[in-house]
Amino acid sequence: MKKLLIWGGLVLLLMILGVGLIQSQQGQVGRGEIAPDFELISFSGETYQLSDYRGSVIVVNFWASWCQSCKPEALDLEAAYKFYQPRGDVLFLGVDYVDTEPEALAYLEEFQVTYPNGPDLRTKISQAFRITGVPETYIIDQDGVIVHVRIGPFMSLEEIKSYIDPLLDL
């Protein structure tokens, strides 16, 4: 009995370590996976449920106001949003990762971001996507499958378009 307990405990410990290790090494949610569903409450108070937007292409961008490398892509993302806005089937969602509201709002103001942005409450969304830092962007197709993961900032508007265009019937 005592022996069983000791060996059992040992195996359990090794298993926890193993699973933890796999988890810490697996990185972000990858291409081809179904995007984890989440609910985002924007700074202006609207609620966005990811699963409600099947049929649209969704761009989920993780950012923070304290993140220096997020700034260059902010304008490009907004331009892309403006570009696709008339079509109505491309949704942009900005997820503000552990940030303070006044600074976040000032950031959105500075780059004149108009697409929905909201805080990542209790870091639930970022944990679901297992992000490794900001900025990170996930492009999700009409079936809810992640088709592209961008680690780090986009370099240009064209780069963003090059990922979205193939998903749309132009």
């Binding site: 040992l10 926890i16 370590l17 290790l21 988890q23 810490s24 090494q25 209790r122």
Partner: protein, 675 residues
């Protein structure tokens, strides 16, 4: 060229180690001494071989060969030479190599002793130490090779040891430099000490396992490994204290120990090792607790490996952790193999280790030691659980949690108190039999003296009872040790015609181990005093003041005199404030808290200005400043009473451990039997 030599000798070490394991095993099975002897020679060889490897890497670091990934990552042109050398352990690959090198040092050294009497243990000691070494060298050759260089290929920049097809070697002009936090004199000695402490435990572990495999039930392995264990323990303790000192001097948060997972993973082997040292004492004197001793050495060694795994696999994140790495799975496999192997062996030999002796009294030395071992293990279990829990919680609930200082302190505080209590009684307790009456006779005088420890703090206005109790215990331990020392001296004087000095010397010589233990315990008490001071009585304040402005804390006042911002030749931008410290209206000191910004790594380091005395430390951090200095700067000021005793205690501790390992041919420990 140097890289080829370095990597080549790394490979040779791997081959030699594997040969040594095979030869020792074969020689043991076939009872052919020549093979074992050959294996022993192989083991002697690993240290010089790895020295070549380490030498090559140091050479690459010193000659700024930034085409090598490791050099580019941890070194830069502006770093002074001594830092380039310490960069050897500033990154994952290099520090693994350094670790293997130290390990090789111990394994090679152990072959140099006389083995005549212990031929049967030798092959297994070789197998176990070389297997561990081979594992680490394997990591260095296949997973974390410090000798890989940058190559430009058609697919982008890659790193490899030899030229990939179509690759062109890249020669970066400068490296990104060592993490600024590691650019501190403390970093020169802290990691080597810590690593020495870690790797040295391989020796007692190898002896223990050899003893189990060969079915020896005696204490021979303990006698053989006693010095090794003590040195390992000394290095590990020093590593911890130096780490604390480094945190105090560099991390700039007014503390020395943050219960960070990596700190804890260094503390856990120390706790197990300390417990091991104490049960060894009982085993030597009374032949008891052989099973527990065995469990503890297995635990200690595996915690060393486990701690290395935690910090290097990317499982935990912390200030100390190395960046993500691919060595996790193989490391886990090694841990599993080690743990299961040694526990299986222990299980098989469990009955060999049964002892005939029994505990006969609650107040005997062995009982007290066992209680303190349980207390140590209490901290160990808590620490282990606290480190593991965030991972478990993340797996189960998906929510990250922090297990921080309050959790550990709640357990460690009272246990530390309990251990002080035991330290009071232990020097007076005798082996195998002691009654409460006997103890009481010896205790009452020191007890009365120790009341000073209550009276003084109370008179000084102390109102927090845990602190009062702590001070009382400190006084009590000191009093007991002093009384015990003089009692023994007096006994000696009554017996003989010695002079006072002569009898002191005699008593010291006769009881070398007892008195060095006494020194170590007094050192622990001194450190406890430092810990009590900073834990219970630290006060702090923060404020933004203009030049000439004042900030008061306790009886001190600091005046902001001036701020200098300048570049240094080693690539730093320094913002240094000049602050004078006043007490009772008089200027008593000038401090220079500063913020260094390192251009190459783009990271800041906050260096506090500290005025340290036996009574208290006045600790000033420059938090922030305006470019126009008259607009003011923000300072954070700490008052840390008694903390210096922590460092003084560490010195005394070294003296104690050195004294106990000091060669002493006359007095071998005599086993004591129950009456």
């Amino acid at each position: 060229m140097a890289a080829d030599i370095g990597f080549g000798s790394l490979l040779i070490t791997l081959v030699v180690s594997i040969y040594g394991i095979g030869a020792a095993f074969y020689g043991e099975q076939k009872k052919q001494k020549a093979w074992v002897l050959s294996a022993k020679r192989a083991m002697t060889l690993v240290f010089p071989l790895l020295t070549i490897s380490v030498g090559s890497l140091v050479y690459l670091l010193l000659t700024n060969r930034f085409e090598f990934e490791y050099v580019a990552k941890v070194s830069s042109l502006s770093m002074p030479d001594y830092l380039k050398i310490t960069a050897l352990w500033g990154g994952q690959a290099g520090s693994l190599l350094f670790w293997s090198w130290l390990l090789a040092g111990f394994t090679s050294a152990v072959t140099l002793r006389k083995w005549d009497r212990d031929q049967d243990l030798l092959p297994w000691v070789i197998v176990i130490s070389l297997a561990t070494l081979a594992f680490f060298v394997l990591l260095n050759t296949f997973f974390e090779n410090p000798f890989v260089s940058y190559w430009q290929t058609s697919e982008g920049i890659t790193t490899a040891f030899s030229r990939p097809p179509g690759g062109i070697q890249l020669f970066p002009r400068d490296g990104s430099g060592l993490n600024p936090l590691l650019r501190h004199p403390g970093m020169i000695i802290h990691p080597p000490m810590q690593y020495l402490g870690f790797v040295a435990f391989i020796i007692p572990y190898a002896f223990a396992m050899a003893s189990l495999i060969t079915r020896r039930a005696d204490d021979r392995w303990i006698q053989l490994s006693r010095r090794w264990t003590l040195w390992a323990w000394l290095f590990l303790s020093l590593g911890l204290v130096l780490g604390a000192r480094w945190a105090y001097d560099v991390l700039g948060w007014g503390g020395y120990w943050g219960w960070d997972p990596v700190e804890i993973s260094a503390l856990m082997p120390w706790l197990a090792g300390t417990a091991f040292l104490h049960t060894v004492l009982i085993q030597e004197k009374r032949g008891m607790f052989k099973q527990l001793t065995m469990v503890l050495i297995i635990l200690t060694y595996n915690l060393v490996i486990f701690g290395t795994f935690l910090t290097r696999s990317g499982l935990l994140s912390s200030v100390h952790a190395f960046s993500k790495s691919s060595i996790g799975p193989i490391f886990l496999g090694f841990i599993a193999l080690n743990l299961i192997g040694s526990l299986w062996l222990l299980n098989k030999r469990w009955s060999y280790l049964k002892s005939r002796q029994v505990l006969t009294s609650f107040f005997s030395k062995e009982s007290l030691i066992i209680i303190s071992v349980v207390l140590l293990l209490g901290i160990l279990v808590t620490s282990f659980w606290g480190v593991m829990f965030p991972k478990i919680s993340e797996l189960v609930t998906g929510q990250k949690v922090t297990v921080g200082p309050p959790f550990y302190e709640r357990v460690a505080g009272p246990i530390l108190g309990g251990m002080l209590m035991i330290m009071v009684i232990c020097p007076l307790a005798v082996w195998s039999y002691a009654s409460f009456k006997h103890l009481g006779r010896l205790l009452w005088k020191p007890f009365i003296v120790s009341l000073i420890g209550i009276a003084l703090p109370l008179y000084g206005g102390l109102t927090r009872w845990p602190a009062v109790v702590a001070f009382w215990l400190v006084a009590f331990v000191l009093a007991v040790n002093a009384f015990e020392f003089f009692r023994r001296t007096r006994v000696r004087r009554k017996k003989g015609q010695d002079s006072l000095w002569g009898s002191i010397v005699h008593v010291l010589k006769r009881n070398q181990r007892a008195f060095s233990a006494m020194i170590i315990h007094i050192a622990v008490v001194m450190m406890a005093m430092g810990i009590i001071g900073i834990e219970f009585f630290q006060i702090e304040t923060q404020g933004t003041i203009p030049v000439g402005g004042e900030l008061s804390l306790g009886s001190y006042t600091m005046v902001y005199e001036k701020l200098d911002i300048f570049d240094t030749t080693d690539g730093r931008n320094v913002a240094r404030a000049i602050v004078s410290v006043n007490k009772d209206g008089q200027t008593i000191d000038t401090l220079y808290p500063r913020r260094d910004f390192y251009y190459d790594s783009n990271q800041p380091a906050t260096i506090p200005g500290v005025r340290s005395t036996l009574v208290d430390d006045f600790y000033v951090i420059l938090v922030d400043w305006k470019v126009v200095s008259s607009e003011g700067a923000t300072f954070k000021v700490y008052h840390n009473p008694l903390v210096k005793w922590l460092w003084i205690g560490a010195w005394v501790f070294i003296i104690g451990v050195v004294a106990t390992t000091w060669p002493d041919k006359k007095s071998k420990p005599l086993p004591v039997r129950a009456r």
